[in-house]
Symmetry: C2
Subunit: 220 residues, 2 copies
């Protein structure tokens, strides 16, 4: 019982800061995406494949969230874009206050598209609004097709579900139609794109999805 | 800051209840294992393979932890053993109070080996003692070999690391020696066993590990 009460207090404060972040980002004309998934679903690999595909069209910045280590930030920073690493020091998700601190360290005037890579966790990140424009979740097919029913909140809160590692489909037991159907039962508006960061399959559709999102936010 | 304070309070109370659980289980001569991993690493599949291998030697019971759904409990219960499903209702880990409630629902006099399958999460479950005798974590090779450094607490808190899905090694980028080395840098005493629930490789060593643990606890 006490946990629910604490959680409500924290979330109320988080919502306030997230609203400030949203205003701050909009003031700089920045579109932002919050990438969420279980550990090892491929968030960093997706960024490493995506950012070069956007080069010349969007000025990209990245906030990396990890419990500790800076390895992901180093990999992404090697692409020559602004990256800020948040180390949560044990906390299992990013929150809006952490992102606010990161925004003060990034060169916001030279960023138009901001990716926020959350801590690898299929549960807690979904409860914390960061001030992003849209949430994108990755599910790798090696994790199993039962995940929408077992972890519904993240599926409900996301605008796009990326089914990653489809190159592994021949080697794992994963019913892609079941996963799509059960994800849409939870969230009928969910967009779904199948990709492989290894082969590059589907990355064109993901980039087109980003372009559509950016256009709709800038025109709206 | 406030989060650390809350967390300390909760953990103090959790430790007390975990100690009660430990006494309660020992009083019934039950050896218990807390299985932890990221979502989809194969905890349920491991139980489904392991329990038949233990038949006739150990009376097994299972506590299944999930945020919602009862699918895992139904799969395991089909093996004809006592199973209790904890639905956390959004909470991202099991805690000692949840396990205490489950212990009151299970036929403890007919159980000698209790598996507690935690919520799929590589972070939070490691912070909560449930009263178990040993913690076992699974890491599937499809999650990537960077996980020990990125999620050190669970590696530090576990007695055994099971590297699962080794049948996928030819299809993923995973340096098994690096994973072993970096896990042991965090926890020099960590036992490590490589298995595949698909092919059955390594399951004999996992069963032998359980037998050794049970013997050492019963003789100690």
């Amino acid at each position: 019982m006490h946990e629910v009460r604490i959680s409500t207090d924290l979330r109320g404060k988080n919502r306030e800061i997230a609203a400030e972040n949203r205003t701050h980002l909009a003031g700089h004309g920045i579109v932002s995406l919050n990438l969420m998934s279980a550990p090892g679903a491929g968030k960093t690999s997706l960024l490493l494949r995506t950012i070069p595909l956007l080069a010349g069209r969007h000025s990209v910045g990245v906030i990396e969230g990890d419990i500790q280590t800076t390895t992901d930030a180093e990999k992404v920073g090697a692409l020559g874009i602004p990256v800020y690493q948040i180390q949560t020091g044990g906390v299992c998700h990013l929150d809006a206050a952490m992102v606010r601190s990161a925004l003060h360290e990034l060169p916001l005037d030279s960023i138009k598209l901001l990716f926020i890579e959350n801590v690898g966790n299929l549960v807690c990140p979904a409860e914390f609004d960061l001030g992003e424009d849209a949430r994108v979740m990755l599910l790798s097919v090696s994790e199993g097709d039962d995940k929408p029913k077992k972890y519904p909140l993240m599926f409900r809160e996301s605008r796009l579900l990326i089914l990653n590692k489809i190159d592994l489909l021949p080697h794992v037991s994963f019913d892609i139609e079941k996963a799509r159907r059960e994800a849409r039962e939870i969230n009928p508006k969910l967009d779904i794109i199948e990709i492989s960061c290894t082969t590059g399959a589907g990355l064109d559709r993901w980039v087109a999805w980003i372009e559509d999102l950016v256009s709709s936010i800038r025109s709206g």
